[in-house]
């Protein structure tokens, strides 16, 4: 086995592992592991409808945020 192949294999596996680590860190940071009960219980109610409403909620949030920012800009004296 040449050292190049070993290097490639190491690189590929570390890259994949790195993706998993980043995903885990993201989950940790965004508070998905904060409530262990939720972790277990919320799964029961996971369905399409909830998924849709989660997307809608996200949209609503962004809309409100944009509105707020626009408003704040208007407040500023030119």
């Amino acid at each position: 086995m040449s050292s190049g192949i070993v290097g490639m294999m190491l690189g590929a596996s570390l890259f994949l592992g790195g993706i998993a680590l980043v995903a885990f860190l993201w989950g940790l940071k965004s508070g998905q592991f904060d409530d262990e009960e939720k972790f277990l219980n919320a799964v029961q109610f996971d369905n399409d409808e909830d998924y849709r409403s989660a997307v809608e909620a996200e949209k609503k949030k962004q809309k409100l945020r944009a509105k707020k920012q626009a408003k704040e800009k208007n407040y500023k004296p030119e």
Binding site: L28, K38, N41, A42, Q44, F45, E49, L64, K68
Partner: protein, 800 residues
Amino acid sequence: MSEKKKIACDHCHLEFSEDVMIKDGDHYFCCNGCQGVFHLLSDEGLDSFYEKTKNVKLAPPTQQFEDSKNFDSPAFYDKFVKTDEEGFSRVALVIEGIHCSACVWLNEKALSKMEGVIEANINYTNNKATIVWDDDIVKLSQIVDMIRAIGYNAFPYDPSIQEERANKERKDYYLRMAVAIFATMNIMWVAVAQYAGYFTGIKQDMKTILNIAEWVLATPVLFYSGWIFFRGAYYGLKTKSINMDILVATGATLTYIYSIYITITQSGEAYFDSVSMIITFVLVGKFLEVLSKKSVADALDIMGKDIPNEVQVLKNGETVATKLSEVEVGDIVLVSSGQKALFDGEIVKGEGSFDESSLTGESEPIYKKIGDTVISATVSIDADVQVRVSKDFEHSTLAHLTNLLEESLNKKPRIQQLANKLSEYFSATILTLSVLTFIAWYFSGHSFDRSFMVAIAVIIIACPCALALATPVATLVGLGIAAKRGILFKEAAQLETMAKSDVLLLDKTGTLTQGKPQVVATKRFKEFDEDILASLTKLSNHPIAKGVFNSLELEDFKEVCFTSFKQHPAMGIEAHLGEHRYLGGNKKLLKYFGVDVDYESERSLFFFAVDNEVVTVFELEDVIKEDAKEAIDAIKKRGIEPVMLTGDHKNIAKKVADELGIERYYYELSPEHKAAFVEDMHKQKKIVVMVGDGVNDILALSQADIGIVMGSGSDIAIEVGDVVLLDDSLQSLVQSFKIASTTYRLIKENLLLSLIYNAITIPLAMAGYVIPLVAAISMSLSSLLVVGNSVRIKFSWKKG
């Protein structure tokens, strides 16, 4: 008619007979509340809630709600609502009435569907909700109305900044540990290949590839996970003390630089695995310490928690809700029964009893009438009074107490831990030794490479992994053993402090005694209906009446409804049933009604008279806890001196102290006196443990090296205390001393183990007999040794 058919309500699923149910189409409801919620949910498209609950029984929604407009008051916003950086409002509420996970789902859904609500997040474990909304679109009162409309209720809750900060710190450690552990585990795999290559031969180019892979992995560990050590080292240097962080940081960095040099020049062995292992091990040890640390200021938050932000002030014959800071001297403030007095002043109207236990520790209520002074921080039991304010809030007794508490929490001495003391010397010694080793080797004619490698080996082998783990692992074992016995230590370091203590201060009421009067003797003059006495005493909140009620052995208690009932403050209760008049209370009450009684006792007396004839008398006394004597003896045997401090009178104090064999006791002490006593002890260089339960003990508890609180004690005391005895027993107190000293012994053993290990290996490393590779392996062995020793103790406790 036989058994009526029972039908379940379509909302709450409680079953009732058909004829009381409200029929609404195909649905049946037990009350209007349930019907309302059911329709609301189907209108909102949230009726899939009922599929999710699967017939879990809910509480029917209550309908009498106080005005939710309170939630919109500026005072409320001031205290509970925070504005985040994006300009949205944020509040934390505790939601009442959550029974199952579907309830959480429903609340989150219903709230996030509301116009203007951005986020509604409810914790499944503690039912605390965080709600974020745009205050321009929707008001908090509307949000609360929604929660109430779907059958729940909400209370504000002040998420203390401290708690938030502690969580943040913990999360930070999680992130750093995740990176460190991930990288170290992968480095191990690579290292296996390298070690195999070391013994069986490996091509240089292959070695370089492996080195580079390790380099990539070790970099985030050193600079991201190890950031904590660099920070610690920086602060250490700033305060001119050599701490363990400096040793870890320099050791890891030097090894890292050396390994990079090896990788680039393609000569010798790289030790990236040691770098990441040192950081990971010590980081885990540090994390264990952080986990068991409590924040000091939490106690202050809880003190403020039950202080409302407004009081009712009487102005021109009208009551006006006024902010605390706006109340002026001379204003008339209303205090109703059950409320805490927030201002000091004089009663101008009304009378009743006050609970002054927060100042004196005694549960006996004090009767106050017009002209008497009310002290803030005391609680009205049955008094509805108007008080003329004599001091503004900032100068009130309550504010004074809070300030004192803050002061004494800051004054709390921190006994330096053995490991910290050791590690200072240790780190300095190791760093010097490794520099000396380098100099000695270099100047005795060896190459720079060789000398540097030996110096690195000294640092790696002395890496304080075992030392760093020695204390946290031992205390964790101690905490675990204690928690299983209902003893909660809030901070690991307290175990060590407690093991070193010399004096034990004990509060009397509630700690050595039961804290509430109990019937110790009864005398019956005539037969009577016990149900009537029970009903009579049940109506009163007075501790004496409660004591009498508890002493009655009622098998089949039927509560009697009196035709009229009256409380005579500081005397007793008068009740009428049909033509009979019943009196229950002390001698004063009987005298007041012209009943002659000839009965004397030192104890508190409760007479019961039917139609002006005394039928029975109870003698009540605060009884000493059963295990108190035994516990005091056991503590004396440990060489700790017990001292009793009480706010009670001399006679009672002497009696209790004599009975328990306590030689030193002090009586009629105010909360400040108790705290001063603790300070006195500190001046004599004594380590003080204080046991108490009440608000009057908090100053002393917070100032003592260790404050132990009974689990049934007041909230604030539990918050201030360092150790909580959940079962209130003094046996647990003895146990906690025992656990503390066992743990301390374990810490010493662990430290000794790691020091012996270092004493053997460091000279070998300095002599150049140990290559860094072997040093790295033996380093892990020493850590295992320490952990193994701690686990041994755990098992020996299980047997014993």
